[in-house]
Subunit: 307 residues, 6 copies
């Protein structure tokens, strides 16, 4: 199992996060009686099955699949039991491709061999994770491809609009899809948004951030050009254009560049695969899109028994 | 707080499930330093904010929002602390509508009043849950509306293709959207699918199910008409038509009705809001759709500070 | 290790359930200082010990014993440590029989070999689980044997009167004893009991169940014959006779058969191994008995050091 | 709620233990859909119900019942919700007697008033805990009554043969029944048993215990009189007579008294309510009985809706 | 209770972190039998006790004390129980000062009033947390005071050398002591250290960081001046001088300033309260010290019963 | 891995405790994105690194280091993946010495070999645990060495003043340092302290302890000589001298010896390595010191890449 906590070019989430998600998923699918349909299958039947892409997209979540089988297969004490040769699960997973790979319909992602009943029990949990995370990676890649064609230096980022409980896994899937991760959580960096202004001004917020949290990245979300001016004057590390159209974004970029050459500009707010190229061409550095995590449809992947 | 574990007509998930999902969501958003941006807001600022629908759809997840604020507001010992009048959070949530309600853009879902910093900290977790679950409810309702117009007795059901960790919440959201819940998990009922046939025949599976799990519901997924015949002869409680088009489904229903008048027929497999009415008119009793849980985009809901 | 989540003919509980029960049991027995008596035993002593039945009964819980030793023996990284040949635990478990087997006094259930100190530390947790679960299996089997002699088609079922935290393990033990599982929990199926009638009638309950939870099994508990009539008229899937004597039960069965040939009849309420045959002969389909889980004495099993 | 962690004369288990047991019990009974039968009950129905003893015995577990209702009733934020007057659960528990009280059939233990659906959902979890723990207390009390009549100074103790996961609750129930707690776990005190002698002698064990664990209580289990002599010579703090009949026990007590006047003597091994008085009269100080925790039948307690 | 997740000027850790630390601490101190000494205290005794500083220092950890009492006092359902007036714990906490306050010997930090037995049970857990976290705050403040006197703009920071499981609480205590938080964990920011150079050069590391993790802060630890040059040329956001003496640090600062005016310089490595002023005067921007979290002695705080 | 739960002469904590501490430590260091700096290291780089003592002291915590690597290296299913030869982590740990060993600066404690990125990710968690626990062992050993030189029969003990969440690990480290463990928690033994006397007298406390908790160890803390007399007259098993100077302690010991030859005497209260020998020479049996757990500075240990 890809033990490194960031193997495959940083596309895997930490194993600890995968472990707890898989444990929760198996618990909600199996407790208390286990897989009563699989219990009908004769004990000795061994099969080989393949994970097959049924759509084009980008793969993510293979570590979660490994963990699903590992948790079902159980502890390593087993083979010493009598008849272990027959009883002990000898599940084998072989990947033809790993997270980040582009998939075409019919593409074999990997194969698993072992007891049929165990594979049937694992199937839905493994596919739920694999197809959801590949869906996130694929939605990301669609945006990234559009952006790269339009403005190579511009980058697509995720947001904190992730599915509750799955943030670590979805952020890894975004990376697998060619995207980049914005701040992981509220603890990591400062992002002053419109609702914060109910309590203090942009100038006050940036000054207070510098005083209390030196060394932290400070970004300010701006709806209007005067807010941009205020954020730049206050010394924000980055500005985020909120809900501007591409034309406004281009103007905003120009205004920022004229005042602070090196301050990166991010744009956010209901950007789609249709509109993303226009934003990229507006000259922004980052485009952050909540939909790649909160509204990505699954990538259709199946598990087919071999011959 | 809606204490009953199935209040509001059965639209709420068990509180235990909500508690653990919210705790996980807050932990991934706040640890270890908390909300460092909200820490910049002066302590005494109290506000009132409203959850506003920005799209048409169906509401779900209000219990999760309550739990989010409750977990952040902390233990009830507080008011005895000195200055409790000023310090102690007095968060108030008032709902204008609850799970199952139809929303139009601009509709006020509810309001929250309390310390600005606490509301800012809760905002994203609350909205992530509310917009995801309302997205599930809304996707369900779109199908249900189409089905009810076409064939009133036909029902839309969910599947086990839920987001890992969120099954209880998503299944409640399906109910809020007018859908019904298929089996909760592998432990509850028997559903013989194509991959099981790698180990035993339909006839064997049903016989074995009756012997080992008497009293459990036995459903058999069928790709072909001869499988339907075998399932009915074996005495399945329900048959599921897999990946048939509406015409095939109508034929299959007729075939089932001619053999076993009372056996319900379910259809499944890539059914969309465009095709669902045709399936309903084919005479099936249940239409189960994975996409309402695994691929529902969020319903856009915002939190606006009151004037 | 019996990796399948329902190996051995469905007699094993899900591994996830076993894992958490064993972890809790070891924590309550070992924290914080560990087994201070076993710490007195010289490190190098290796032994072989046998699990021996001291009473007649039926075996259950072998997977829990495996998990106990596995959790104590620790992670597989160990053998690379220096002196691993001596230090690393090499616990071996060999089963002579598995869950569901009938035991006689003196019967060797299995043997474990490895470090004496580790085996001493595991002993009580392993035996507590094995003797409790075998006690459940044995109590079940006593009823099943009586029923099978009296009325072969009649089946013994468990209830939700299980030990808190052990439901999955006890329900598996019931299966090992030849019994069958009633609904796993409140989420799975509808059972209208006397206290529900404080809120609505049987007719209303069944109608509401059909409307809200189509496809779910609906059973109605009846104290009186008029309730039976109402339940059948309402279309219940099964009726449960509550606290009737065998004579009343026979009358009730006759009444049900005369109205609805195929509706199964269950009986429940303080049924014992002395009275169960009479109920079986009354013609009921299912006899559910809380005592097999809530009041089963342990089966006496010991761990004897070899030679 | 009995906030002290050892209120009522030490009969309550720590709240932390109760919390996790109740949470596990509710999770296994309610996930994922909640109580689907209670969902059929109209929302506004409020009732009053009484916990009624149906057998003679001793009460234990009231704190667990309180916690069950508290966990279902949810967070205290609720009453601020609109319509809180109608929606918010206002569960009230009133105890007529608490842990340790003797019960007669028909005795009202306490009453609960609140929403019918919530009370129905809580019923089985509350009763499972209350009847199991009262069963433990009652089994203990039967032995204690017999011992107190025969030899007032002699005390009944529990063992580590408790139900996995319930040790803290069962040990409190033993105290409620008039019994006393032996060591809580392997970490707390030293008890040299027969299987330890596979690794070292009694003399070595006691010497090693004194050297490594000074200040810890050292008890030695003895099957034979020469072992008693060895244990006393080694300076054990207490001796345990294992599987001796009352006559042998009396001889053993005499032998111990002649060598070490103040060393307490305990006896253990398949002692029943029929034989316990004879052991008490043999002069032992403690009688420890595994059956009071591992084989106590439940005490029959019901929940009756008030007229 | 300080409900905001970053009240008191950001000195409190997230409530979720406090909850789990307190739950673990109480479990390890109370399971399974509870506080058996406190059980000896008569039930009705109510007292008032004061937390008193016995040393000079800075306060931290008051939220943990509140949570300790809250978890012991239990659920809010209680007061409805009969005799609640007497039974229900009415613990009141009143703080005279909160996290960040400077304490002198004899200073009253706060008072608690309620049942003596509950207060005794809470005492050690509350004091362990309060004295450890105040110890961290005090050690931090000693360095901060020395630095502020020497070079006002220089800031003291913590490291990842925190006590396992307590990072969130210790980082909050550092802030209470006037220090600032370095990165929270390995996930948040990039810090290239000497051991990383076993795999790639500084230049490669910075380039790769920019490519894979744009927008993340990149700091490079340097032992030698040529590494400083390489780090600056590569465009690091900050450099960390590792294990240099104050003279070397001053030279290093000069070298950095001559090449990149605005790049902040941090110094780390066995800096003590004796040497910290010299480092501050060397012109560095940040001084990070592991000892404030990993080796801070507790601040002596006692709990004295009033009159 | 040292599978026995008390191997190495009882110096290891239970594996269950180590598991949960390591899991918490890794979660707080790695979630949600993993080690983003280590992600920059090329995947194929394998290294060998050594744990090196940089100070004199005593080693403790090797089991925690093993568990850290084991949790990062993941499940054993991996090697079956394609390219497993390259991908699968093959971490090897070899210890040159284990818990309890005396270390000198430069001493190699052990070596680890495997993927550089995995070792970098594990480094801080492993060192935090190893250096903290070795710090506890070393602080203990300094006192023990002083005591053994002064009065060989006198023993150093810990207290309940441990770091929240780490009690099991710190108590094992105390044993590794040559110290002994006082009671583990409030549940295990009775210790009547000054604050208890707000509720009852010493005489009442001891009598009540004997009645309610027979067989439990009863120790009484005494500030004054008349309290000593009262405690001895009441029959306490041990007395603890609180905050006496060595001269007073010697007088107290004499007073106790004159009244009860065999009652052990313990002394506690701000004893340091400078004063401990004087206390030992005063004739006490036990010296308990909170500082060895609550204020022990870490032992400086580094991880150096080989060659």
């Amino acid at each position: 199992m890809g033990g490194s906590d960031l193997g495959a070019g940083g596309f895997h989430p930490p194993l600890a996060a995968v472990r707890s998600v898989v444990a929760a998923a198996l618990a909600e699918d199996l407790l208390p009686m286990g897989d009563i349909t699989a219990s009908l299958v004769p004990a000795g039947v061994e099969v080989r099955a393949a994970f097959i892409a049924r759509q084009s997209g980008v793969l993510a979540g293979t570590l979660s699949v490994e963990e699903t089988f590992a948790q079902l297969a159980g502890s390593p004490l087993g083979p010493s039991a009598p008849g272990a040769g027959a009883d002990a699960p000898s599940v084998r997973l072989e990947w033809s491709c790993r997270d980040g790979a582009r998939l075409e319909p019919g593409c074999v992602i990997g194969t698993v061999s072992g007891p049929l009943s165990l594979i049937l029990t694992a199937e839905r949990t493994a596919l739920n994770l694999l197809s959801h995370l590949s869906g996130v990676a694929s939605a990301t890649r669609r945006l990234v491809d559009a952006v790269e064609a339009a403005a190579p230096g511009c980058r697509v980022r995720d947001t904190r609009k992730t599915t509750p409980g799955l943030r670590a896994l979805e952020k890894a899937a975004v990376r697998a899809g060619g995207g980049f991760n914005h701040r992981a959580n509220l603890s990591e960096a400062i992002l002053v948004k419109d609702n914060h202004l109910g309590g203090l001004s942009i100038t006050e917020a940036v000054a207070s951030a510098r005083a209390q949290w030196p060394g932290r990245h400070v970004e300010v979300e701006c709806d209007r050009f005067d807010q941009l001016d205020e954020a730049l004057a206050a010394g924000a590390d980055m500005v985020m254009l909120d809900n501007m159209d591409p034309g406004q974004a281009a103007q905003a970029v120009e205004r920022v560049r004229s005042r602070s050459h090196s301050t990166p500009v991010e744009v956010s707010g209901r950007i789609t695969v249709e509109t993303v190229a226009a934003y990229a061409r507006a000259g922004v550095d980052f485009i952050s899109v909540g939909a790649i995590t909160h509204s990505a449809p699954v990538l259709d992947i199946g598990l087919d028994l071999a011959g």
